[in-house]
Amino acid sequence: MSYKPTNEDVIAYLYGEMEESERAQIDQYIAEHPEFRTELEEMEGTRVLIGQLEDEEVPSPMTFMAPSGNSEWLYWRKYVAIAASFLLLLTMGKISGINISYDEDGLQAGFGTIQKGLDAETVNQMLQADRSQLVDWVEKNLESVQEDFSGELQNIQASMNEQRTQRPEVPSLSDEDVNKLLDLQKRDLTYQMAQLSEKLTDDYKEIFKELYVNFSDNLETKRLDDLRNIQTAFDNFENATQEKQEEVEDALFNLSREVNGLIESQNNNDKNN
């Protein structure tokens, strides 16, 4: 017989959670296999050992708060609350004498009896009255201002007339006196002008002098520079000419030598021939 219980079978057997038929099969296997019996016994022993671990004492368990027992009341509670608040509102309104009404004039609220506001017609009348009052006042004021103004004007005219009549009484100077005064002024003025011009000429003299000196200095240095430049130019020219001359001499010398050479070779040739 080749039956061998699986690990799962062992566990099921160990915990007694096995079908009756399979159980018989394992019982038979145990009888035939003593080593399997020891294995089972060892497992059982382990179970006993770990079974020594006891429960911990628990802190007092949590409790769920029991909701209020009267569930009918629970249901009605919110409506009662609404009604109560409404009642409270009414009572407070009554005590404080609050009065709210709504008609074609609109929503009105107030403490005590409501005093109706003004209607459009009375408001118009009031506006008109106010306006006419204002116009009256303006007109009156204008009149008074005009009166004041004309009075003032008359006053001014009167005073002007007065002045005109007073004018010839102004004291007048004789021609001689005037001339004397003018002369005095003239002399004064000329004196001042003379002084000024004198001062000015002195200043100008200084400036011109300086200018002149500067100019002459400048001219002198310029002239010297120019002369120096001309001299160097001449020197250069002279050098260049000398060099040219030497070159020409050299060339002439070379030429004469070549010519001599030629003549000599010619002579030699003649001789050989």
Binding site: N7, I11, Y15, T46, L49, I50, D55, E56, F64, A66
Partner: protein, 207 residues
């Protein structure tokens, strides 16, 4: 293994709580609070994380109780919620950046602790209560050594007494996967406990 006999009351309470009976709801919480807390505690070995998961689980339970079709599947349903919150916490913890040297420190502490306990056991007259406390710590430590998915299966099976089918439902995996995870988990635990010199004799000696 403790026999979990909460189901008969639970079915009745669920029905009442679903109808909006606050007393039934609180009774339901009271009934399962210890289980869920211990489930989460064994998973994290941390009181604060366990409390966090427990409270979230029951808040979620309260909110979603109406969507629970079958009262008999309440158990896997509530463990499913709890295990989801556990996974969420683990993800959150992983996202937190931990100083490397702190990690090293912690593992060194573990080793020291284990060595100390071993030497204590070799002593001729151990303080029994003290040793018992240490056995508990070691078993917790052994659980934390398991990979997360194996740890969860073991806790559900060994400490919460869920059936293999219920675990499969709660974790959204096949029954065969549950069985094989249990098999390997028991194997690793056996090895660990042997390594730490914990066996039947030591237990009986201490008890």
């Amino acid at each position: 293994m403790k026999e979990i006999t909460l189901m008969p009351q639970t079915s009745f309470l669920i029905a009442a709580a679903r109808d909006g009976d606050p007393v039934a709801l609180n009774q339901l919480v009271k009934l399962w609070y210890k289980r869920i807390y211990n489930f989460a505690y064994k998973y994290f070995t941390d009181h604060d994380l366990a409390m966090e998961v427990t409270q979230k689980t029951f808040i979620s339970m309260n909110k979603n109780l109406g969507s629970l079709k079958d009262e008999s599947s309440f158990k896997s349903w509530i463990y499913r919620i709890a295990s989801n919150y556990c996974h969420e916490e683990i993800r959150k913890q992983k996202r937190k950046w931990v100083f490397p040297f702190m990690k090293v420190q912690q593992s060194k502490d573990d080793q020291d602790f284990i060595q100390n306990t071993e030497s204590t056991w070799r002593e001729s007259n151990p303080d029994q209560e003290f040793a018992q406390m240490e056995l508990k710590e070691l078993l917790k430590k052994a659980l934390t050594h398991l990979p997360e998915e194996q740890r969860m299966v073991v806790i559900m099976k060994e400490y919460e007494g869920l059936k293999i089918r219920e675990i499969a439902e709660a974790m959204d995996i096949s029954e065969n996967t549950v069985k094989s995870r249990l098999y390997y988990a028991l194997g690793s635990l056996k090895k660990l406990l042997e390594q730490w010199n914990i066996n039947k004799e030591t237990i009986h000696y201490e008890l």
